[in-house]
Amino acid sequence: MSENKGKTFFIDQTRCTACRGCQAACKQWKKLAADETVNTGSYQNPPDLNGHTFKLVRFNEVEVDGKLKWVFFPEQCRHCLEPPCKMMADAFIPGAIIQDEATGAVLYTEKTKDLDYQTIREACPYDIPRKEESTGLLTKCNMCIDRVRAGMLPACVKTCPTYTMHFGDRDEMLAIARARLAEVQKKSPAALLADSDLVRVLYLCEVHPSHYHHHMVADAGSAGDRIGPFSRRALLAMRPLRTG
């Protein structure tokens, strides 16, 4: 699929108040289980993505230029333009992970239960896929493909009260994301759109991406991160041969 077609999220993190409406809405729409958690000394809970948590707001206290910031990262699958998890899965069970033609959504099918979890998880430059123990399936955000096909917004976008979450056609999202970035850069020159040429979820970061989470941007690829001869990032940027 061409890079400017399909759907895309724009997530303007300068606006996120960490209300976690999106996190709850995701679970509600998809009827995902909740765990008996404990407070671990943080508002972030569950502590990480898991087989039944596809959207997680991460909380980080950081100091930037001598000023305390509490940054919020509503994390989800980035729906890579060229998804390395799918490339990896195709090598083992073609069709276990598919990419939706119309939207570009990366979808995990029933067949993922026969994939090797660690291999798929490690292929993801953003460390997104998880295994749901109760079903054996590999899981993650599916762009609320059922809602989107019915002309609705994804549940998390619909819920967000602060205009943090946006969803629509990719060219339109890129346009508003770039316009907003220019606006934010007036106050915060270091602001950027994380990996905007690689993914369908455009995160606007006001401060350095590493302040949000170490997987905010794709791994640059340390030796340990290498998958075969390629770094994860190289894999992500790899374009299959196309015609026309």
């Binding site: 606006r15 108040t17 960490a18 209300c19 976690r20 409406g21 996190q23 709850a24 679970k27 509600q28 289980a33 909740a34 765990d35 008996e36 958690t37 404990v38 407070n39 671990t40 000394g41 943080s42 508002y43 809970n45 569950p46 206290e61 100091e63 305390l68 910031k69 509490w70 940054v71 919020f72 009260p161 602060t162 205009y163």
Partner: protein, 803 residues
């Protein structure tokens, strides 16, 4: 709110103080964010850096309980630097009024204080009047007796150094906030103040809000788009319940509560009706007799309204706070009640001094709990440390249906009555509150009919015609709240027939020919239908410019969206800020919002709800003084009050037999309580909701890294908090978002704990309610408890052990 949610987007400077709006009013940030997008500055003043601070342009920390020091300093700053909006202040506030010779302020006390009754003779604070009783004024504001000059002298003590020393806010922050906010004192600048329980839950709660209102008046920020004094209400319909007299000091529509000292209806009306001879003052409360008579007829349509008045309960000639929450529990604790209805409440978790409340409930013979779920209160008899065998109270539980299972109106913070229809049927045996109360009442009435009883008339005669097919019908009650003609009436050449709905409160009559349950709701359900159910976005260009939707729901009063809007225009009806005019006179009529009275420009003064028509910088109506004055919280790290020899509010509600921690080495840390976005109220509903509980499962205590180091506590470990009244064990969140304060040259540590958790939330939980720690002391005007500041000790919990 004087304004409404959408209007926040019109502001240039938003000061959030005493509220964690992003957390507790998430949707507010839809509009705060819009304002910021327009270039507005967001300021957050709070003891703790919160989700709100994270979005603020300026965050300024403040020690809990010192808001008046900060506001008083800002008032001084505004006056010293002439930053106030002169025309507004002279024309529309009482700055020019001359204060009488009996007024005085010395050693922390206003004149007229009686130490025996701990109350003031408020007559000592009166203005000087002419022979008609109209206050004398000096529009030049130079007379040393005028309010502005009295304020200058009063706040002279609130200098920058004192503010920094007492609040613990760094000097640079104080100035940054003051300068940013005071810059809105220009006609083309709008500043808004958003507050919530962080201002209210103090022994100086009412005066906190007086102080911020004074600042808004000095800066000309009331009556304009993007301005106002905006209370963010903590329950979706708490505005509505207040409107229909949830509180102990009024009847529906904020009519005064009847008192035994008033012999009859006429005495009630006389006492409640302010009188002025100032022809410019609309003095709206002069209509009280129409609203009172209509209320009596709403309850007792078949009776004469004066007779009906004699059937109402009256309070004794005592302080009204003796009927408030804390006093009720004190009386219950002392065995003063046989039974109690605990209706949609959870006093054993959500009420201040919850441990005392638990003991108080055990003194009852019976208790009826009406709620969706069992909670710490319905189950108090088997709570921590309680042996059910020792509790004699018989507990009945009536399952209530939920808001989405019933029709009705919800009044939001912006006073919009929004009608909604039920989305689901009642579950099991549950019933709506309306059905429960009517059924209970009819049973009581049957008993009275069969057996008689003392003072039977109010029971036998009450009208309860709110049923349809045997079930409570919210529409029928809503119609009665709007008001109905009981006789044929002609008003301004228009004929109205008995049985028709009144068009608005201007049609209400003093002679008993109209029935209206809540005059401010009049206009919400007329002959045109249910105005609250409207969802029409139509608006004029003037309305579109400021995001005003007059055809969407119904805003009380009179569908006015921004209160006191006549203060936003000059005497010729020209808006001070034409770019965001709320109302404007176009030569023939007002355009924009519904004006505060339809008089031509300049005919009447804008603050129509106060007797003299001008905003009260000096407010002789409150029981604890005409000007806000700083007093330390009842429990404090300081032994005295740096501003005066009077340590605490001398009129505050408290119970002398209860010990207080004052600079007590056993309880060295300031503690405050608050909510989290994931839980609602005492958590009785949300702690049952797995997705919410997963996100915010336990009680916790936020503390600074510095305090944690001192106590040897690591992030995520359990700690015990202990006050004079009780102790709780929770998880420590060690965070740079809380910093120690420097107060009067000493380091003061503050910690915070959410109050929405309780022992009922999960299996084997060691956690209990934060309100086991908070004190039974309250504001003298309202009785609201001081749950925002008290003293505790904090220590690391013994591993594997409780307490």
């Amino acid at each position: 709110m004087t304004n409404h949610w959408i209007d926040l987007k019109n502001s240039d400077v938003l000061l959030i103080m005493g509220s964690n709006a992003a957390e507790n009013h998430p949707i507010s940030f839809k509009w705060v964010t819009r304002a910021q997008q327009r270039g507005a500055t967001l300021i957050h003043v709070d003891p703790r850096f919160t989700r709100t601070s994270a979005k603020a342009d300026i965050y300024a920390p403040i020690r809990s309980g010192t808001d008046i020091v900060f506001f008083g300093g800002l008032i001084k700053h505004i006056l010293d630097n002439e930053l106030y909006f002169k025309q507004y202040v002279v024309d529309y506030t009482n700055a020019s009024y001359l204060v009488g010779p009996d007024y005085d302020f010395k050693d922390g006390l206003f004149s007229g204080f009686n130490p025996e009754t701990a109350s003031y003779d408020r007559k000592k604070w009166n203005f000087v009047t002419d022979d008609k009783g109209v206050s004398l004024k000096d529009p030049t504001l130079k007379d040393p007796r005028c309010v502005l000059q009295v304020m200058r002298r009063h706040y002279a003590r609130y200098d920058l150094k004192t503010v920094v020393d007492v609040t613990g806010m760094p000097e640079a922050k104080v100035l940054e906030v003051w300068n940013s906010f005071a810059a809105t004192g220009k006609p083309d600048r709008a500043g808004t103040i958003l507050y919530a329980m962080g201002q209210c839950q103090h022994t100086v709660g009412v005066q906190n809000i007086r102080a911020l209102s004074m600042i808004q008046m000095l800066l000309g920020n009331i009556g304009i788009a993007g301005g106002g004094v905006n209370a963010l209400r903590g329950e979706s319909n708490v505005q509505g319940t207040t409107d229909i007299a949830l509180l102990c000091d009024n009847l529906p529509g904020y009519l005064p509560i009847p008192r035994a000292i008033w012999a009859d209806y006429d005495a009630y009306v006389k006492a409640g009706t302010p009188v002025t001879n100032d022809p410019q003052s609309a003095n709206w409360w002069s209509n009280l007799d129409k609203y009172a008579a209509s209320l009596m007829k709403a309850m007792y349509p078949a009776a004469d309204h004066k007779t009906a008045y004699t059937w109402l309960p009256k309070i004794d000639d005592t302080k009204v706070v003796e009927y408030s929450w804390l006093s009720l529990f004190e009386r219950m604790y002392n065995g003063g009640f046989k039974g109690a209805f605990v209706w949609g409440q959870n006093p054993c978790a959500g009420g201040a001094n919850a441990g005392k409340n638990r003991k108080a409930l055990a003194k009852l013979d019976w208790m009826v709990v009406v709620n969706l779920f069992e909670n710490e209160s319905s189950l108090f008899w088997k709570g921590p440390g309680v042996n059910p065998k020792d509790v004699k109270t018989e507990v009945f539980f009536l399952p209530a249906s939920m808001n989405v299972e019933k029709d009705g109106s919800v009044a939001n913070s912006g006073r919009w009555l929004q009608w909604r229809e039920k989305g689901a049927k009642f579950m099991g045996d549950s019933l709506s509150d309306g059905d429960i109360v009517i059924r209970l009442f009819e049973e009581v009435r049957k008993l009275y009919k069969a057996e008689g009883g003392k003072h039977p008339e109010p029971i036998l005669n009450l009208d309860t015609a709110y049923l349809k097919d045997g079930m409570y019908d919210a529409s029928a009650l809503a119609k009665r709240l709007n008001g109905t003609f009981l006789k044929d009436v002609t008003i301004a050449d228009k004929q109205w027939k008995a049985g028709q709905q009144v068009p608005g409160f201007a049609a209400l009559q003093a002679d008993g020919s109209t029935a209206c349950g809540c005059w401010i709701f009049s206009g919400s359900y007329t002959e045109q239908g249910n105005m609250m159910a409207r969802r029409d976005r139509a608006q004029t260009p003037e309305q579109a410019a400021i995001g005003l939707f007059p055809n969407w729901s119904y805003a009380w009063p009179a569908n006015r969206r921004i209160l006191y809007n006549r203060a936003g225009v000059d005497q010729a009806g020209k808006p001070f800020d034409p770019k965001r005019a709320v109302i404007a006179w176009n030569g023939e009529k007002w355009v924009g919002d519904v004006p505060d009275g339809g008089w031509k420009p300049g005919e009447k003064l804008p603050f129509i709800m106060v007797r003299e028509g001008r905003g009260q910088l000096y407010g002789p109506g409150r029981v604890d003084g005409p000007l806000p004055e700083h007093y330390e919280p009842f429990e404090s790290p300081l032994a005295g009050n740096p501003l005066s020899p009077q340590r605490v509010n001398p009129t505050a509600l408290h119970f002398a037999h209860e010990e207080k921690a004052v600079r007590d080495p056993r309880f060295p840390y300031v503690c405050t309580t608050y909510r989290v976005t994931e839980q609602w109220q005492s958590g009785a509903m949300t702690r049952k909701t797995a997705w919410l509980k997963e996100m915010q499962p336990d009680g916790f205590c936020e503390m600074s890294r510095e305090l944690a180091a001192k106590l040897g506590v690591k992030n995520g470990e359990q700690v015990v908090l202990e006050s004079v009244r009780g102790k709780v064990q929770v998880v420590a969140i060690v965070t740079p978002r809380i910093k120690p304060f420097t107060v009067m040259g000493e380091t003061v540590h503050q910690v915070g704990i959410p109050w929405q958790f309780g022992w009922g939330q999960k299996k084997n939980a060691t956690f209990d309610s934060a309100n086991l720690l908070s004190p039974s002391v309250g504001d003298p005007n309202t009785g609201i408890p001081e749950t925002k500041v008290f003293m505790v000790n904090v220590r690391k919990a013994q591993p594997g052990k409780q307490g």
